[in-house]
Symmetry: C2
Subunit: 197 residues, 2 copies
DNA sequence: TCATATACTGTAATTATATACAGTTAATTT
DNA sequence: AAATTAACTGTATATAATTACAGTATATGA
């Protein structure tokens, strides 16, 4: 992470931890207390250094007006691990994932029932991040409504005909016609699995 | 969401939006400005009402000392959808998922290479949330080191012997002995997929 | 009908907070 | 050797922010 000194890294961590624990950044006084500084100005100086080094943003004159630069906040992703090195060595960090990890904006999550999409790694109980939409690109994974049922399927359009395709060979394709009661609820943009069993 | 009035719901949303945009909650004055109130006390009263109804926590005398009760913050999960109802109707909301969705604390994410765990829905490019650990329960999915390689496998212990099992029939089990250079890096506690393709 | 909740305006006071300025000490760079 | 950076203490001040109090008005439940 750039060229932070040990102390600066600690301050960065204190801010990150406070945001995590309380939902908002600490004041200068709170930082000083946590770090054991007797002067609030010690915290202030460190903040200035962090801003100068580009890992922190400051909103002037605003209380708790601090924001960690996203690139350095969140939880680190470890990519390929070099021979013999400890897995969490700083050199191995690919990037940091932000609080909301999914690339596109998510309007809601859909809890997955069944295994019709298991071949693309979407399994029972997964949370699929969904962006609301009424149209979809050919080949994208969508949340479709058929009458009263809501399902997750791949959206395929051929010769003007719409097909809903499962990613599991035990399921047949669904062909859409006027009587299907079909409508699009949204597009799947990410997946979260809360536990690994 | 409990019994919020329309105005109270708006205030709740203003706070949620501010936290999302700025990384910290708004002041009473900022809420008032956004809502068009001429008195900061209008915001204060609404905050008191939200606290009373249990959807907001307040840290007294602390600037921006507001915290949305987790149960009502974050992105909604839509569970089973009732017949004919709009998918995002409030009645369908199962719960809200917090900013960091994985149940257990995550020390880092590991970017998945290969398909050795695809039968439990972990595929190439997924981010596996890992909790650092040097021991594991029998049957859990772990990040294991073998000499210089780091892999994701199911950890199986039988008659005092350790086996690393892939969740893909094309891969063979790995039997651990003294020469394997084996060590445990951590336990897989969740999965995030940033895109659905 | 009386209390209580909702939904505000307006004023004021205390406290919380950011931030500038003046120093000190030690280490590092030029 | 001089300048710069890092890492603080200590004082002071302007402003940011919470919060109490006093009202007004409407609606609702007991």
């Amino acid at each position: 992470m750039i060229n932070l000194t040990e102390q600066q890294f600690k301050i960065f961590d204190v801010i990150k931890g406070h945001v995590n624990d309380y939902g908002y950044p600490p004041t200068r006084a709170e930082i000083a207390k946590i770090m054991g500084f007797k002067s609030v100005n010690a915290a202030e100086s460190h903040i200035k250094a962090l801003v100068k080094k580009g890992v922190l943003l400051k909103v002037p004159d605003s209380s708790r007006g601090l924001k960690l630069v996203e690139e350095y906040s969140g939880i680190p992703i470890v990519g390929r691990v070099a021979a013999g090195s400890p897995i969490s060595a700083v050199e191995n960090i690919e990037k940091y994932i932000p609080t909301n990890p999914i690339s596109s904006p998510v309007d809601f999550f859909l809890r997955v029932k069944g295994d019709s999409m298991k071949d693309i790694g979407i399994i029972e109980n997964d949370l699929v991040g969904v962006k609301k939409a009424s149209t979809a690109e050919n080949g994208s994974v969508v949340v479709a409504r058929l009458e009263e049922e809501v399902t997750l399927k791949r959206f395929v359009q051929e010769n003007g005909k719409i097909k809903l395709v499962s990613e599991n060979k035990n399921y047949n394709d669904i062909l859409i016609d006027q009587n299907s009661g079909f409508s699009l609820e949204g597009i799947a943009v990410g997946v979260v699995r809360e536990d690994v069993l």
